[in-house]
Amino acid sequence: MASKKKQTTPTDDFSARGAPSPPTQKVFIQRDYSEGTQVRFQPKFPSELEGKIEREKFEYTLNTLNEVYAEAEKMSCSSCCEGCFACLTAYLLYCCSDTHFEKCLKKVAKFIIEQNERVYVPRGLLIIDPVERGLRVIEICIFSDNPASTPARNN
């Protein structure tokens, strides 16, 4: 029932996320309020990522994230029923199961881990889950060229 957000600074523990060293640069994708106050991030490709990642891959990541957040905030019959049922059980339902929104946040977390593993970390980038910043910004860390990501060269 209480907030499940971590209390430590989000940017400190890079080794746990599969990154070898602190980032050289950070890009912040801001919220897109043009269509309302719902959670949505600007799908515009940032100039700092030019040459580091293909535009389509980045757009795919952003669009998928936006879709999941839209689904999280959507008012549907099932989410209404879940709320009513939770109220009727004196909220004991929340001890056994997550809310629809929390389930979507978990989906986002899984998706970001998968994208980092497959797409971003091999290109020297790392996406930080926006939930760590209160859903205000998506942080993308840029790491300088490191020996781990490039094959060993014999001069």
Binding site: K5, T11, K26, F28, S34, E35, G83, G134
Partner: protein
């Protein structure tokens, strides 16, 4: 930091709620169970459960606090970021204010609570009786707490008054005295509680929480 004084109103609120409810169940309610119907204590128990559940969640649920931004987020070369940043929402220009404490531009409908010293999403107010901010994540519990509490107080008041009328020839007995106290206390407290509940009903109806 005198944290003790912050908890005091919440402590009193819980104490008054639990003590009056307990007295109600032990004295007038027992008579209703024996002489009228078991439904009355049963319904009252359900309402009490609702009050306590919503009160607890309004107290312990995080209101929607946005964590403070870490220093690496500020990419402005200027020493100070401009105080306001304009953003277009559905064609309407909205001003977002820079929060000096939290180091970010406050999202729309977000406000900084000076008691908790944090920015809260869709901030309503800081409630001392609940010792928590009321914001996006816990507003529904606070609202339902007000509604169920109003219902509970109305029930306690009505049943205690009925009990008093039925026992007006035995005014010196303990149950009757307790009922009289309940009627008086609940009657007085119902003014602010019903008032606040009504106010929030209007806010919700107009979509202006």
């Amino acid at each position: 930091r005198c944290k003790g004084t912050k908890v005091l109103p919440a402590f009193f609120a819980w104490a008054i709620l639990l003590i009056t409810t307990a007295l109600f169940f032990y004295f007038p309610c027992m008579w209703f169970y024996e002489n009228v119907s078991i439904l009355i204590p049963l319904c009252e128990a359900v309402v009490t459960l609702f009050v306590i559940a919503n009160f607890s969640l309004a107290t312990f649920m995080d209101a929607g606090v946005i964590p403070k931004a870490s220093p690496d987020e500020d990419k402005d070369d200027d020493f100070r970021a401009p105080l306001y940043k304009n953003v277009d929402i559905n064609g309407v220009t909205v001003r977002m204010k820079w929060c000096v404490t939290c180091q970010f531009y406050r999202p729309p409908r977000c406000s900084h609570c000076s008691v908790c010293n944090k920015c809260v999403e869709t901030f309503d107010h800081h409630c001392p009786w609940v010792n928590n901010c009321i914001g996006r994540r816990n507003y529904r519990y606070f609202f339902l707490f007000l509604i169920s509490l109003s219902l509970h107080m109305a029930a306690v008041f009505s049943f205690s008054t009925y009990f008093l009328i039925q026992h007006k020839d035995r005014l010196t007995q303990v149950p009757t005295v307790v009922s009289l106290c309940l009627v008086t206390l609940v009657g007085i407290l119902s003014v602010p509680v019903f008032g606040l509940a009504g106010f929030h009903v209007v806010l919700v109806a107009r979509g202006r929480t």
